[in-house]
Point group: C2
Chain length 344, copies 2
C-alpha cells in the first residue's frame, strides 16, 4: 500500500511548493529572508528535475539546522577589497544567502571593471551549483563557480580521501536559446548515487572508489564506510578536483574539505566549505557578439552529433512544470507538511 | 652509425641554447624581441624535460613562419577595456609576444583591483601553457590560462572533431616549495603521442579516439586521417574542453578550433587560436596566508599517498639542468645549427 501510495503524485505550482519549503526552513530556525532564498533554490531544483538537490534534501537541511551545525539566522559580512574583489564571511550560514547579498555588488563590479571575483568562506552549500551561475548567464555574463565540501574523494594515486566531491559549474548566454549551463562533481560518481547502490545491494562500476585500506572496490558499503570515491578522468580529473579545492578552500580563506568536522553535531549533513565565483563580461574580449558566437558553437556541436547540450534537459523539465505543475509524490508531500508543522 | 651518433649528448647552458634558438627564429623572419621570447620559452621547456614542447617543436615553428601562416614580425595591439580587463589582438603573431606585452598591465590590474582578465585573439600558441602561468605564481598570484587550437577532438557522444586538444593550466604559490603548476590537455592523449604510436606501428589504447566515420578505433593512423581524439574523462572532461573552447575561442573574440584553415599555407603547423588568462590575488579572500594554506594542502596530499605533486618533476629536471647543463643529442644540435644557418 505504501508503495502504491508513493506512486500517487500531486502537482504543485512553483510558488505553492516554494511557500511550503519556506515554512519548513522558518519552522526550523531560519531567518525569513534566508528561508525565502533556500526555498526558491530547492523548489527550482525540483521543478527542473534536478531531483538529487530538490525536496530530497529537505530532511538534511532540517537535521543540520536542528543540530546547531549551521546557523539559519546568520547574516553575511560582505567586504569589497578592490573594485573587482568581494570577500564574504557567511558567518556559518548558507552560501546562497551570501551570494544573494553580494549580487548587486557583483553586477556593478562586472559593469565597471569587466570582471568580479567573489570569495565566500565559512558557508554551507547543500544544493546544486547551477542556480548560482544561471542568473548571470541570463543577464549576458559568463559565470564560473566552485565549492569544496566533506572529504570523501581520494586524489589520483592516493589511498585516502582529501577532496570533497568538489563540483564546478559554468553558465554562458546563447543567442535565441536557453543559456548553456554545466554543473558537475569532480568525483566519478555522486555520493548520493553510491548510497542508492548500497540501499539496492548493487555493486558500483569498477573504478568508482576505494575501501578503508585504499584498495579498489566495487562494494558501495566499503566506499561509504571510511573508503572514498575516485575523481573523474584519472589524474587529469584529479587536477581539476585539486583546483576546486584551492579556489574554494584557500582563495576564499575558508576550510579545506578535510578540515570539516561535525562529529559534535549529530545529524548534521551540510558541508561547511568555501565557494568562489568568477563573473566575466564576455563581450569585452572582441568585436564579435558573444551570444551569436555561442550559437555558432552550439550549431557546430549539433552537427558533430552532440544533440543534447548541457543544461537542456533542465530547461525542458522547467517548461513542462510551468505548464502543468511540479509533480510530487503524495507521501513526500505529507512528510514535507509534517516538517513544516502542518497537519498532513 | 646514425643511431649511435644520436645517442651522443652535448650539454648546453640555458643561455647558450636560448641564443641558438633565437638565431633560428630571427633567421626565419621573426622580430628580435619576439625571437627572444620564443627562444626563452622553448629552451625552458627543453631544460625542464617538457620535451614535447622543447626543441622538438623548432621545425614546426620554422615551417609555419616560412609558409606565411604566422607573422613573426607582428606587434600585438593591447587595449585596456576596464581596470580588470585587457584585450589583445596578436595580429596573427605569437601568443607569447602578446602575453609579454601585457605583463606589466596585468600585474598593475591585479594589484589595483584584485584580479585581471586577459583576452588574446588572432594568436598562435605552439608551446606548453605552464610558462604562461608559472611566473605569476612565483610573484604570489594564482593564474589560470586556456587556449584552443586545431579541431582534432570529438565532443563526448559526437562523431566528428570540434575542439582542439584545448589545454588548461593553473599555477599557485606554495610556502617553502616550488609553485604547484598543472598543465594538461583536455584530450585523452596528446596528438603528438598518437603520431609516435603511428610511427611505431603500435595501436593506441581503447577509448583514445574515433575514425573518419565516427566509430571507435585503436588505429592511430585512422585517428590522424580524418578521425579524432576523445576528450579525457567522458562527458565531464568534454564539458571542460567545451569550457576552454568558450573561454579561448569566444570570450577573446577569437576563432573556434573548427574555424582554423591553413590549407593555403603548406607546412604550417601552429594553431591560430585564442587564449584567456585570469590572474587573481589569492590573499584577498581571507585573513589566512594563502601560501601557508597551500603548504598545508600539499602536506595532506602527501599524507594521502600522492607523493608527487603537479609540476614537481619539471622543477627537479630544472635543478639538474642548472647544475650540469641541458643534454641535447649531437645530431639534434647539428639540425638546429643548420636551421640557424650556422655550419654544423
Amino acid at each position: 500500500m505504501a508503495e502504491k501510495h508513493g506512486l500517487q503524485k500531486e502537482r504543485l505550482g512553483f510558488e505553492e511548493l516554494k511557500m511550503l519549503l519556506k515554512a519548513i526552513f522558518v519552522k526550523n530556525g531560519t531567518a525569513a529572508e534566508t528561508a525565502d532564498i533556500l526555498a526558491e533554490n530547492c523548489a527550482a531544483c525540483e521543478r527542473d528535475g534536478a531531483l538529487s538537490h530538490g525536496i530530497f534534501r529537505m530532511p538534511g537541511y532540517v537535521d543540520s539546522l536542528r543540530s546547531g551545525w549551521v546557523d539559519g539566522l546568520a547574516t553575511p559580512d560582505v567586504t569589497a577589497l578592490g573594485p573587482s574583489f568581494l570577500r564574504i564571511d557567511a558567518r556559518n550560514g548558507f552560501a546562497q544567502r551570501a551570494m544573494t547579498a553580494a549580487d548587486p555588488l557583483v553586477r556593478r563590479a562586472v559593469r565597471e571593471t569587466g570582471a568580479a571575483i567573489v570569495a565566500i568562506r565559512n558557508s554551507h552549500h547543500f544544493s546544486a551549483l547551477w542556480p548560482d551561475v544561471e542568473p548571470f548567464a541570463l543577464s549576458g555574463y559568463l559565470a564560473i563557480t566552485a565549492v569544496n565540501g566533506l572529504a570523501n574523494v581520494v586524489p589520483h594515486g592516493g589511498r585516502q580521501a582529501v577532496y570533497g566531491t568538489n563540483p564546478i559549474a559554468f553558465a554562458v548566454p546563447v543567442e535565441n536559446a536557453p543559456p548553456l549551463v554545466v554543473d558537475q562533481a569532480t568525483s566519478v560518481m555522486a555520493n548520493g548515487e553510491v548510497r542508492l547502490h548500497a540501499l539496492a545491494g548493487k555493486p558500483v562500476p569498477e573504478g568508482t572508489g576505494i575501501d578503508h585500506d585504499g584498495n579498489p572496490t566495487t562494494d558501495p558499503h566499503a566506499i561509504l564506510a571510511g573508503g572514498a570515491l575516485n575523481t573523474f578522468g584519472g589524474y587529469k580529473g584529479s587536477s581539476i578536483a585539486l583546483f576546486v579545492e584551492i579556489l574554494a578552500g584557500a582563495v576564499t580563506g575558508g576550510q579545506f574539505s578535510f578540515e570539516n568536522d561535525f562529529t559534535g553535531y549529530p545529524g548534521a549533513q551540510t558541508p561547511k566549505a568555501g565557494q568562489l565565483l568568477i563573473v566575466i563580461d564576455p563581450n569585452r574580449g572582441g568585436s564579435m557578439n558573444f551570444e551569436v558566437r555561442l550559437a555558432c558553437l552550439c550549431a557546430q556541436l549539433a552537427d558533430a552529433g552532440q544533440d543534447r547540450l548541457p543544461g537542456a534537459r533542465r530547461f525542458a523539465n522547467r517548461a513542462a512544470a510551468e505548464k502543468s505543475g511540479i509533480p510530487i509524490a503524495v507521501d513526500e508531500l505529507q512528510r514535507l507538511r509534517a516538517l513544516a508543522g502542518e497537519n498532513a
